[in-house]
């Protein structure tokens, strides 16, 4: 994939992109959640 033949490498790249997408999705989904929670439970 993209000139890299070893799956051990390109799977690493793929996972990096997927996790980054996960971070963005998490931020968007929880954009308004957790406002003014103060010292309440951190969940």
């Amino acid at each position: 994939m993209f000139g890299i033949s070893d799956p051990g490498i390109w799977i690493g790249y793929l996972l990096s992109f997927l996790l980054t997408a996960g971070c963005i999705a998490y931020g968007i989904i929880n954009w308004k959640n957790g406002c003014n929670e103060g010292s309440e439970d951190g969940s």
Binding site: G3, S5, I9, S16, L19, C23, G27, G34
Partner: protein, 521 residues
């Protein structure tokens, strides 16, 4: 230096003026100890994300690990996976939100203070602070070396002048402006780093004919792997080392797991979660933190190996050979040799920014630890701003002295040492503190002690890279490692973290058993 000195001087002065202005803003906003220690607990999520990322990613990741990936190949991309998965997602969602909530609830001002208050134990606070003060100067010194070395290479300034000048500028705004100044400047530095790394990636692929062509060219260099590395398991720069070979073990246990897991319990990062007022800020920060860390580590571990293609095409030698055998010099040399003048300046600023953002945070953490957590004059938990500022100054001096004592090629290794010790000592006890309604102080004491002790023993007597430098194993047993290969290349974190976690669990089980026995009539 290849670039126009006047242009460079002007851009650098503008950058320094912006840093000083932000530092001054932090100074003006710092009205008391709460502001100095936890930025008044009202930091913006964008600033949190950039500050966290810029602190996490130092010259160590870019210059040190970039250089190592030039030597060992793209396998370090797995460190990027862990940096995002553990360093951002897990750190923010699992640890960050609880840290923030407990920080607010207990009024904790530092990481050792948080642990101490969660466990209601001065011992836990003191032992955590002690571990920080002992280990952090080594990591700090490595960051100083990375910044100074790049200034030396790029500006032809004597190393000593670069080192001291660099430490002095950062010291100025940390001591005066506290964590607000640190985080504001971090945010600016994070933006510069992001721009610098993006341009570095794009230009590298443009120079080498595009993504597919460049990667294929790197793949084709496999027959040029030096004999000693091939014998240790290296198969090429675009392929993983042989499974369980010495290079695989070093790459995976030391670089990937050592740093990727170690990030969880780093005091200078954990304290940032206590600077925001609610969980919404943490949710939003995750969205920025992920792409930021991807661009910082992913680019370094991609461009590093690709420098081999460029140096082979231009000079007919591998990158590490072009850099005279010093992996820490590969990235600076590549930038200075391959990049256009304007980009050299941008990247110079990006590296300076990376070093300054991490340095400032480490200076601040060490200063607050010695000036507050370990200060015997602190009464009723009320901090003295003057004492913390003096403590910060003292630790800056110590770190600068340590920087002179450390050997070459130390940047990445010092990072691993620091993160490994933090992980082994703190992760189980920190997790227990956050997620237990009544955390057991004796279990935490045993866990921290067992983690730190086993980490030290493995470092001093088994892990050859460190034990051969420390010389204790050789002096006592006449060999650099008391265990046969492959144990000598297995990083201490792989041994010490499970021991620390097991110690905690065993103690909890014993206490539960005791409670059950006592409850029986």
């Amino acid at each position: 230096m290849a670039v126009d000195t006047l242009t460079f001087t002007i851009i650098t002065l503008v950058y320094l003026a912006a840093v000083i202005l932000l530092g001054y803003l932090g100074y003006r906003k710092t009205k008391g100890s709460d502001d100095f220690l936890v930025a008044g607990r009202k930091i913006n999520p964008v600033v949190l994300a950039l500050s966290y990322g810029a602190t996490f990613i130092s010259t160590s990741a870019i210059v040190g690990f970039g250089g190592i990936s030039a030597q060992l190949g793209m396998g370090l991309v797995w460190l990027t996976v862990l940096c995002i998965g553990v360093g951002v997602l897990t750190a923010f969602i699992v640890y960050g939100k609880k840290t923030r909530a407990l920080g607010h609830k207990t009024g904790a001002l530092t990481y050792p203070d948080l642990l101490g208050k969660c466990y209601n134990s001065r011992f836990i606070q003191k032992i955590s602070a002690f571990i920080i003060v002992v280990s952090m100067p080594i990591y700090t010194a490595a960051i100083l070396i990375g910044g100074a070395r790049f200034i030396e290479t790029t500006l032809s300034i004597p190393y000593d002048t670069a080192l001291i000048g660099f430490a002095a500028i950062v010291a100025l705004y940390v001591i005066l402006g506290g964590l607000i100044a640190v985080m504001y400047t971090d945010a600016l530095q994070g933006i510069i780093m992001f721009v610098g790394m993006t341009v570095l990636l794009v230009l590298t692929y443009v120079y080498l004919g595009g993504v597919g062509t460049a990667n294929a060219a790197l793949d084709a260099l496999a027959p040029l792997v030096p004999e000693n590395l091939a014998a240790a398991g290296m198969t090429g720069w675009a392929s993983m080392p042989e499974f369980l070979s010495p290079i695989w073990l070093t790459m995976i246990t030391t670089m990937v797991l050592g740093v990727g897991i170690g990030v969880i319990a780093q005091p200078q990062l954990a304290v940032r979660f206590m600077t925001v007022k609610d969980n919404r800020s943490i949710h939003r920060a995750v969205m920025i933190g992920g792409p930021f860390v991807l661009m910082m580590t992913g680019v370094a571990f991609t461009v590093g190996p690709l420098t081999n293609v460029w140096f082979i095409e231009q000079n007919g030698v591998l990158a590490v050979n072009a850099a005279g055998g010093n992996v820490d010099s590969v990235i600076p040399l590549y930038i200075n040799s391959a990049m256009p003048d304007l980009f050299i300046i941008i990247f110079m600023l990006a590296l300076l920014a990376a070093a300054m953002s991490t340095l400032s945070s480490l200076f601040h953490t060490m200063g607050t630890t010695i000036g507050y957590d370990l200060n015997p004059l602190v009464k009723e938990g009320i901090p003295s701003l003057k004492a913390i500022q003096l403590g910060t100054l003292a630790m800056i001096v110590v770190s600068t002295v340590v920087a002179y004592a450390l050997p070459q090629n130390i940047i990445a290794r010092a990072t691993v040492i620091f993160m490994g010790l933090c992980a082994a000592s703190f992760i189980p006890a920190f997790t227990h503190a956050l997620y237990s309604a009544k955390p057991s102080v004796s279990a935490a004491k045993v866990s921290i002690t067992a983690g730190a002790l086993s980490w030290f023993l493995w470092t001093a007597f088994v892990h050859v890279k460190e034990s051969s430098v420390l010389g204790l194993s050789d002096a006592i047993f006449g060999v650099p490692s008391v265990l046969p290969m492959p144990w000598g290349v297995v990083n201490p974190i792989i041994i010490a973290l499970p021991i620390s976690a097991a110690a905690l669990l065993v103690m909890l089980a014993i206490q539960k058993q005791d409670r059950l026995q006592n409850a029986q009539p």
